[in-house]
Amino acid sequence: MVEIKELYKAFGQVRVLEGINLLLDEPGIIAILGPNGSGKTTLIKSILGMVIPDKGSITIDENQILGKWAYRSQISYMSQIADFPQNIRVSELIAMIKNLRSSTDRDQALIDLFLLRPFLDKKLGNLSGGTRQKVNILLSFMFDAPLIILDEPTTGLDPVALLHLKDILAQEKQKGKTILITTHIMNLVEEIADRVIFLLDGKIYFNGSVTALKTQTAQQNLEHAIAEILKSHA
């Protein structure tokens, strides 16, 4: 369970998060939406301890996370940009992360699922963007953590890989995990999200189901509902 209270963060003059209160206590897929620069990534990185908030508290299972590190073994994180060291091979990267965390055998199934076996001996610098993203997915799903955080996971994926990703997400949800996901693809949100959190100017503007969002904005379609919020806000 993640609980965020009165979270503030500014980068210099730019105030990114302005008093976020959020409780994530149920299993399921939670989509964090919002225009560019609304603080989605900052919020995620605060939970991961990569960004240090100016004010406020974050607790995971009732433990404060500020300055702690061991709790991150409970989180699988997939970053927005799949930038890896150019000179190491895919298999070496997988081995290294396994060595750092814990042993797992889930990587083999994922390698086969995403057809990564022919790339294992290739250097990461020589892979295409989409293949690198698949490696990124593999690295985050090979550990069995109760909280999964995905920052724009669909970037550069081909349709087959996207289907596999959705399957994995469904399976993990079945296991009772909490999955946080940011994306700009509204179809995906409509299809998989149990709850939507809409960030605007560093605050939570909406927090509820997709249906509730549509009802509130009197729109049939999620894309239009979001556009409606942004229009009325501007």
Binding site: F11, K45, S79, F84, N87, I88
Partner: protein, 260 residues
């Protein structure tokens, strides 16, 4: 930390530059020791090269390693690892691999010369120790600078400026100050000033060890007079250790506060 250290170490060992650096020292050691009839002269030349080059290479490698492995560092930061573990591990990986290039590169010619010609060459191991210290100090300083600046160009510029300051400008300023205030007693001032520059400290340490008083210069002579040879070496060694530990402490402090 050992895992990160090992990874960074082998990452650098795979880089061509480590070998170029190693071969450079190897060749220089052989050429200076075996083609020079005067061992003392060869060692002085080596001293002058080591004292300028190890800080430069340490600075450049440190800063480049930080910026090129930035994305990977971010991946590590999202793993259950302590921040200080990640950065100290990387730091040790860089510093140890560079020191090894120096120690093995110069060590081989030293050893061969010692066995073949005169075993007195082993006195000059202080050159290697000081080179190692300077590497550890300047990699730590450059890591401090890299963590403080997100902009690669700024970080690189500041790091090079720091090296230039320590290696060249500092002595110049010191000399001007001493010339302008020569009618005053400057012993204590000179002594203090030396402590704040690890390159000067290293030079004095080696010259004290080799007992080449003609080359000690004013600050060195003051140092020797004040502390005596034995205590002088002890003082300079402990100052050099402090020069490694303080930047390391500051490095963990900045790393713990930084947003990634």
């Amino acid at each position: 930390m050992l895992k990160i250290l090992k990874y960074s170490f082998f990452d650098l060992m795979r880089s061509r530059w480590s070998y170029i650096y190693f071969i450079f020292y190897l060749l220089m050691g052989f050429v200076l020791l075996f083609l020079n009839n005067d061992v003392d002269k060869a060692v002085i030349t080596l001293l002058n090269i080591i004292i300028i080059l190890t800080p430069l290479i340490g600075t450049v490698f440190g800063i480049m390693y930080y910026y090129t492995s930035k994305e990977f560092t971010e991946l590590l930061l999202s793993q259950p690892l302590k921040r200080s573990t990640i950065f100290i591990g990387q730091y040790l990986g860089v510093a140890i691999s560079l020191s090894l290039s120096l120690i093995i590169g110069l060590g081989i010619p030293f050893l061969i010369y010692g066995i073949a010609r005169s075993s007195s060459i082993f006195n000059f191991t202080s050159l290697l120790i000081v080179g190692g210290f300077l590497t550890f100090i300047f990699v730590a300083l450059s890591y401090n600078i890299a963590l403080a600046f997100n902009d690669k160009i700024k970080g690189f510029g500041f790091a090079i400026l720091l090296w230039l300051f320590m290696a060249v400008i500092y002595d110049g300023i010191l000399m001007i100050v001493m010339m302008s205030f020569q009618e005053y007693p400057l012993d204590k001032f000179a002594l203090g000033a030396v402590m704040f520059n690890p390159i000067d400290l290293s030079r004095i340490l080696i010259l004290l060890k080799l007992d080449i008083s003609a080359l000690l210069g004013y600050t060195g002579a003051v140092f020797q007079k004040f502390f005596g040879t034995g205590r002088g070496m002890l003082v300079s060694l402990s100052m050099l250790t402090l020069w490694v530990l303080l930047p390391l402490w500051n490095l963990t402090r900045i790393a713990n506060k930084k947003d990634f």
